[in-house]
Symmetry: C2
Amino acid sequence: MTGRIVILTGGVGGAKLVKGCCEAFPPDTVTAIVNTADDFVHLGLPVSPDIDTLVYTLSGKANPELGWGRAGESWNFMEALRSLGGPGWFQLGDGDLAMHVLRALALAAGAPLSAFTAGVCESWEIGATVLPMSDSPVRTMLDTDAGELEFQDYFVGRRAAPVVSAIRFAGAADARPGPGVIEAITAADTRAVLIAPSNPFLSVDPVLSVPGIREALCATKAPVVAVSPLVGGDAVKGPTAKLMRELGMTVDAVAVAGHYAGLIDAMLIDAGDPQADFAVTVARADTLMHTQADRVRVAQAAVALADSLR
Amino acid sequence: MTGRIVILTGGVGGAKLVKGCCEAFPPDTVTAIVNTADDFVHLGLPVSPDIDTLVYTLSGKANPELGWGRAGESWNFMEALRSLGGPGWFQLGDGDLAMHVLRALALAAGAPLSAFTAGVCESWEIGATVLPMSDSPVRTMLDTDAGELEFQDYFVGRRAAPVVSAIRFAGAADARPGPGVIEAITAADTRAVLIAPSNPFLSVDPVLSVPGIREALCATKAPVVAVSPLVGGDAVKGPTAKLMRELGMTVDAVAVAGHYAGLIDAMLIDAGDPQADFAVTVARADTLMHTQADRVRVAQAAVALADSLR
């Protein structure tokens, strides 16, 4: 089979799946629809953490140790910034800064985020298509035991320690899907729509909050397959399991599938997850992604699961 | 004698004299009034080359090889910028960027350049007072055989190669002296006003173009002493001699003194300069400044010349 593979994705875990898809299938058939609700303006510069993680990963520039930023990064900007009394809580690497400075220039000149992102992909010869979920600002806001917090304050500033009671996506009601987003999901030649193993609440839900995207997932003739973010019954990285507990959910793949009920046709779960009853078709694979072979295996298993539903 | 030492200054040569004054005299008696007509906005960031060279020099951070920017600088921002198709003609070091990003934030929040500069001096414990010549934008424009050029396009972009026929300071007529500038020049306790061995046309003339500064130099009771930028009859660095020829002047200290006629009471010239008739009092010293001892020697000689006029 051939056809377009579309992935709804957030940060590092999702970027690995997109990279796996680009290694397992022709990159020009791969389209990523990326969460932008983590975006914020820091030091006057617009930062798009999930887009940046994705383009760094796809272009081979990602820092594998940190899970964010660029490999071989230097930190002289941060050191000088601190010496001048500037804020040190959010790390901007020296090379990474070029992205934010150029994005600031582009947005100030009236270019949409999608156009800037397409330019980055062209400069770095990224064969895949990278689409922001929206060019409109959508911002994740969390109700916590430390009060209402913006995403980066919660996630970076407080290391996701506060207990979360509710999550909102400010601006979502007025946001429009980015150019190409709806078309990619609903195109007749789309082979599979994958939901990456990103945080369902902080990375995937914001994408689904943009009016039209949820409807497109329901309308598409392509199979929709989620890859569970849980491995052996726990989150690989980040606050997914902690958030599920705080939101009153059981920490298992059944709960994740339930969260996506009505949207997905099937779910790929980890081979080490316990047996359980799922309301959708389930396939299993070793879903931990450390190496290139891991990424290719998970991408192939997710697309094979989609193909099996046709 | 004691009292304040005020220096009108531009880039690297002037910064060395100010540094020498801070080494020869108590730094809290030293006030630099700095050219800001080289300032420009690059990549959306406001860059103040002469202020930056001065604060890097005074805080021991200057790059002695380059003559601009920071010592031990890294260049990952520029490399990433170029890979994204950004402009590479103006070099911004990774540590240097912190200055420009914080200045952009401060100016966008409504702070004047003088307040931001004072904050830098406080952060880096620079004992001297560093005053921008003006908080108003003044921009050096050059008429050349390559057309009208902005300063950085002429100086950095074209390496000062075009032949200059005239120099203007756009905005000067409407500019006001920065806070403290006139007071520093005219204060009763001011011991000497020095004109640094900076480029008379591109570094000192813009300072003199701000309404009120020339008048303050005429009004002050303190002796005004220029340090000639020529050493052994030629410019140490930069386009001073080339500019003098293009503007139809003889390249010698007499011509520099003539350029400052009516403003200065005396001039310190290089020991190696030829004998000549000067309209003002002249003293000689080895004015080349490579080492700390050189800087201290020139500072002491210039202030001694001023003191001798009382």
